[in-house]
Symmetry: D3
């Protein structure tokens, strides 16, 4: 089974991340980029929905075990590739929807925030930015990404407390667009994607690059804040 599965239903590409916690390491980011390549190379109406292959996880962020082990030597290159990938997703010229079926933690939460829309499972799973508790500074591009999606109070609450926020609360706080029962997460995300699939790619990409200019530029710069 490959790390990422990409299939198409009607005009909607469904990207299933299927490596358990879907933690970011070079293999995962490469697979995600290849999926984006495929979607981008398609023609005609299109939208992208992503989800996790296991019920419990959407993505738990960086693969800390890999980073502390064999990945240590590649840390800088890898972190840069993550930032670049998030920037690519923010600017993606095709509508994107995250079907958040389980936990979104740290870089996994930022991954979800880089999608255009978010549908989250209501009964289980947390949105969490735990950087304050695991002592990892946010890169300027990450801070800008988060700020571009959350209102000032929610931005402050999520980053300063590192709180674990369930689907219902995430909907109330505007972190996600919908919180629905587990079995409706993917269908609702699909419905949003279908309704957006006819947007023109040029204009869609141009609008997003204008809306998120600062975050995209900072992510592409590769800048990080040292701890």
């Amino acid at each position: 089974m490959s790390i990422v599965d990409l299939k198409k239903e009607g005009d909607v590409f469904i990207l299933t991340m299927q490596s358990g916690e879907n933690r970011f390491n070079p293999t995962f980011i490469d697979a995600m980029n290849q999926a984006l390549d495929t979607v981008e190379k398609s023609s005609g109406p299109a939208a992208l929905v992503s989800t996790g292959g296991e019920a419990k996880f959407y993505s738990n962020g960086l693969d800390l075990a890999w980073l502390a082990g064999v990945g240590e030597k590649e840390r800088d290159q890898f972190v840069k590739s993550v930032l670049k990938f998030l920037g690519r997703l923010m600017a993606f010229p095709i509508p994107t929807v995250a079907a958040i079926n389980g936990h979104v933690f740290a870089a996994g939460a930022m991954l979800a925030l880089a999608y255009d829309f978010r549908v989250m499972r209501a009964d289980r799973g947390f949105f969490c930015l735990p950087e304050v508790d695991i002592h990892i500074p946010l890169a300027p591009g990450m801070t800008a990404l988060i700020k571009s999606q959350l209102s000032p109070n929610v931005f402050r609450y999520c980053i300063l407390t590192g709180a674990r926020i369930g689907g219902i609360e995430a909907k109330e706080l505007g972190i996600v667009d919908e919180a629905v029962p587990a079995e409706q997460v993917l269908p609702q995300a699909m419905a949003r994607a279908v309704s957006m699939a006819n947007k023109g790619r040029d204009i869609y990409g141009t609008l997003k690059r204008g809306m998120y200019a600062e975050a995209i530029a900072l992510l592409e710069s590769g800048a990080v804040i040292l701890p």
Copy 2:
């Protein structure tokens, strides 16, 4: 009947746009600027309320028929004058209230967002940023204007979906300050204007230029994003 009617009730100037859909062409923008000149030259307490002369429309934005016809040669000059006008309105040193009696589409929606306060009709009429569907990029100053008035989620929703948003929803999303029955739109806008008419012009203009510095500078620059 002139395109724009300006009269004064107590301390409140009432500007009625009365060319049907109130689409922007040079004649319309000139008339609006002249109305602003008159208001600005007045002395003493003052506030400005604007509304549409027909029940159905506040403003539908650029006069695309004119632009595709005789206006084609003047397109650049005209678009620049629109940007400059929106910047002038954002920085206007006298309290402004949009009494949104009908549709506000595209540049018409931005016009409404350039006022200090917005009272919208609840039962009919849509707020809509259709640029994503009509394939027209937003000028950087327009993006900044919209961002200055909407929370991150609403900014994203309006621009990416191009949704038509009725008065009730517009109030819930914070796009407008009030959604009221048709016959109360103007009275409620007037009431807000009356309550604001005693603000000092110097301090009011200074505060607005500080609050909206980036949007005003971008609008005044005349910069547009090419499609």
Copy 3:
């Protein structure tokens, strides 16, 4: 009785401002900075709660009587010290909670907004940015501080109207995190502080400086807008 009292309960420093309206003059700012010095020099888990010593006031802002009298000669130096102090508080590397027991007006409101969290008394006391009515421009750093904490609509409403906003409304508008009965203001603020006291200082300060980079830099620059 000194202007500011600082004591410690468990991991929480409680700073009581006890000069009545707690207006800002050099003595007050010095005392506040000394209290921050003490908190910063401490080691181990820590959080800071501030409150007003009298039931009616948290802080009413600048000491205008002093400024119009003996303070006139020192005005520039003093205003600069206020801006610098607000910047210091925004970047403070230890969790901070304002227990708003009474009025917060003008610079006093900004003081409250420079804390990480705000618990306000529900039954009495107003949050108010009266600059529009007392004809005092906001320094760029103050505008940025306020913008960093309020959603676009609330930012606009507070600054343009100068409205007096009670605790309940302040909670609804997201100006404060909680509005509670008078006797619960300090306990609720304490509870928040306790829950945050274990955050690491380095990461906490780094995250805040990243989140509020623009406001902090503008406050530290000492820039003001002339009326």
Copy 4:
């Protein structure tokens, strides 16, 4: 004799500042703005040359005697009007040349730097930014104005040392475009003005606003740095 004399030779307006040291006070700034109004309202080819009416002075900057006396109450308003005037001159849509016949000190030096071209007397008179020695901070717009005209080394040298720089050195450092004998200052400035008088006003203003966008916006904001 009025403070400022404006006459026209061919396409060139010659503005002679004739109040001795040509220090800035409200009367002086008003007269300068009126002269700019006249030039701006003209039609057809045009350029502007300014010079000092006495051999020894172009302009020595702010009228410190007035500021310390009757002007004290108006200080803020006045300083703001100076910043706004400098911004207007930087963005002036007609070519401008400073014929620097004598000293240019402090705000007088900034005045000279706000012109498009500078011809300085070689044998006598100094360019000097003495703020470091008279303990007056530069407003952000002033710093940006100076930076927009000088190379990094000269920017650093002028501001940090407060050196008095004669015409020859000023030419070598690129502070002025020419250093010539006293009797050639005005003729050379006139020759430059004549050669520029046919530039189109719209494009000339647009290009300058683009080139100096940051300085112009900061000057117009009225921001100052407190000492």
Copy 5:
């Protein structure tokens, strides 16, 4: 004969633009981008030198005849592609040298300024930014590109006067790195290229993106200033 010829000598790619005045139209920009693709896809040490195929011209900028004729409908798309191309060249991760064998006018001058180094013919040919005289505003990205390469005085002189600047003067003003006899233009450019061909592509691109971040982002945004 194709519009652009690309051959390799040792580690140096030599790109010869061979359509006479080498004016920019879609065919030209496409050919240039394809040449950059080829260079970028190569591996090992590499540098790029470009020159004009005719003695008289390096590039005279936009193909105004095409734009006024069949190109009129595609104007926006085309201008955007020019901006994007200039941004790509500024960020190109391989050393680039312009062998300026003849005139560089308008966008052609900006093309030359987007290379890392410039060797110009001393005896004939002009560097000229004639926008002020042909009434064409500079896009913000173009202004930033020019500012990134020229000292403040030269930036001002070139844009405000629209002067035609020969090779010797261009060298004196720092617009080009060398001015040499016609037959040495290409050899000198080659020598520079050879000396730079061993720079690592990753670091070279990263450094350039950092040095020119603002200009590159503005060029990529597609923003233009309306006349």
Copy 6:
């Protein structure tokens, strides 16, 4: 012998870096910061001159041996402390002069650029930014520091080529203010320092923070660009 020696002659503090190549490691940065502490705590007229204790070296930059060995674990913290130190030096409220007696490489060259004035030995020793050849990206704050001191052409030349630049060329390029025989380096630096020692600290620091606001903020942020 301590790493850094600080003594005072008249009003001038002379800081001698005496660890051979004066490479940056935590011990070195701590010693430098302590020296700055001492200078800052002094009262009365003061200026600071720094030089290298050995004839051959001023500073060769980061201690790569330490970083590759025991320092590897502390890399991030250390790099952050270097950025912060450079920012402190750029903003130092007392005149500073680098007496460059020998090589200044990489971070050592940036150290020299963070001083207010530079006197370099003419006959031996190089200024060099070798990052392009040793494949180390410049932190945004470093890029901004270098840009704040060098003209656009020199900025481009130094960073893109990594050239070794002797004292005479460094003077011609404006990298240093003077290039003098070895035995005059310290005396000339002293003379400059003496002439500056009477500047007021408040105004001097305020002016520098205004002139270098962007570089100082980026250095203090701790941001780095990943390779």
